[in-house]
Amino acid sequence: MAEQVDPLPEDLRSIRRRAVRLEWWTLFWLGTIVVAMWAVLGQSQAMKTAWLEDMMSLIPPALFIAKSQIEKWPPNRHFPYGYIRFGTLAFMASALALLAMGLFLLYEAAATLLRQEHPTIPAINLFGREIWLGWLMIAVLVYSVIPPVSLGRMKQEPGRRLADKVLSTDADINKADWQTGLAGIAGIIGIAFGFWWADAVAAGIISLSVVKDGVQNIRAATAELIDGAPRKLDGTEIAEDAEIVCSYLAQKFPESRVRIRETGNLMRVSIDHPHPCDPKIDLDALRREMKQPWRLQEITHSFSNAGKNAPHREPS
């Protein structure tokens, strides 16, 4: 295989290595949680929902680990721009899966409520005593919150430094896991007090948050996949560095059309000049203005009769 091409600068590669290690740990701890939950599932709709959500949350870490390798593959004839956008595509796929599952679980919770199904939680024989499974479920739910919240906190900083959407949304979802645990526990305590509907309501709340995550991620992935302007890590606003680059270049070339998009975590700019001009740009000066200068990957100039006021149509 040809020599690997790394989109990241030297000093950020150790951060990426650390992030990959953290994601391996995430896979391990989430794995133990999934097994523990499976052992105590029973008929609780809330437990089932929390379990499925935790299974789905195995996908982003696996994705990050895979993409960290794949984006280093060198460009070739079939993929002359390389593989840096693989991560976004996979991110979109997992966001769609998340949304689909969230909607399905929401439907299940509503159906359970409408059918007025009373969840039966039996007992299990532990150390010679019959103990109500509900207490075990609560214990497992408490445990299920601790690793994700800690790991989520640890992954936030690398996510920001690497400007990596997969890593940072994974960190956010992990950090918010305590809400899922709390809802599940509330559901089971509700059942303990005889409120059979508490379980389905808790399941509904958890699935609503899954749907919300799915929609947010789809929006972020869509923006990049259709060449939208680079967005901030945690929302749909345009990234600060993108605004800086655009205003700097617009000032330098006032009659030209400046467009910026992102590919993976890198930014690419294209400038359309209406008439021939000197395309020289003081890159160092521009980079000094940016917060994360390594993200500016390329600037392309084109000379056409277009320019800032051109109609938005592809040239024939």
Partner: protein, 141 residues
């Protein structure tokens, strides 16, 4: 973080020591000191599998009197669903398709030849817990 973890565990133990879980339809309190109504689909299987012993032990535990109601299995399942009968018995196997309509107890394993289960109303977790505790005692003894 660690403090919250310990507090939640303590909470679980505390909750476990009071009268939780409770029945949404109050089956356990209805039976206690009154009558335990048992629908029996097959009297022969009821005796052979040791279910009579379980039911009598449970009644003694709850200070109740046993009332046996023979009937056809589908009618009895319906009766349990509506709370007219507290337990349905009579050689129901663990693999019975009725598991979607009634809550099955732990298997009664007195007669080595066949393991059977008793059916209770879905969601009545306190009553089911007492039943399962009785079965565990009877199985062991």
């Amino acid at each position: 973080m660690w403090n919250r973890f310990v507090a939640s565990l303590l909470l679980s133990f505390l909750l476990g020591s009071c009268d939780l879980p409770r029945d949404p339809e109050q089956t356990l309190s209805e039976v206690r000191g009154n009558t335990l109504i048992v629908g029996v689909s097959s009297m022969e299987a009821f005796d052979k599998a040791g279910e009579r012993l379980v039911v009598e032990n449970l009644a003694e535990r709850l200070g109740a009197v046993v009332e046996l109601q023979p009937g056809e299995i589908h009618d009895l399942v319906n009766a349990v669903e509506n709370g007219r009968v507290h337990i349905v018995a009579g050689g129901i196997p663990e693999s019975s398709p009725f598991s979607s309509k009634v809550a099955f107890s732990s298997p009664v394993e007195i007669a080595r030849s066949r393991k059977t289960v008793l059916g209770t109303r879905k969601g009545e977790n306190a009553f089911l817990l007492e039943l399962n505790r009785t079965i565990a005692e009877v199985n062991g003894g």
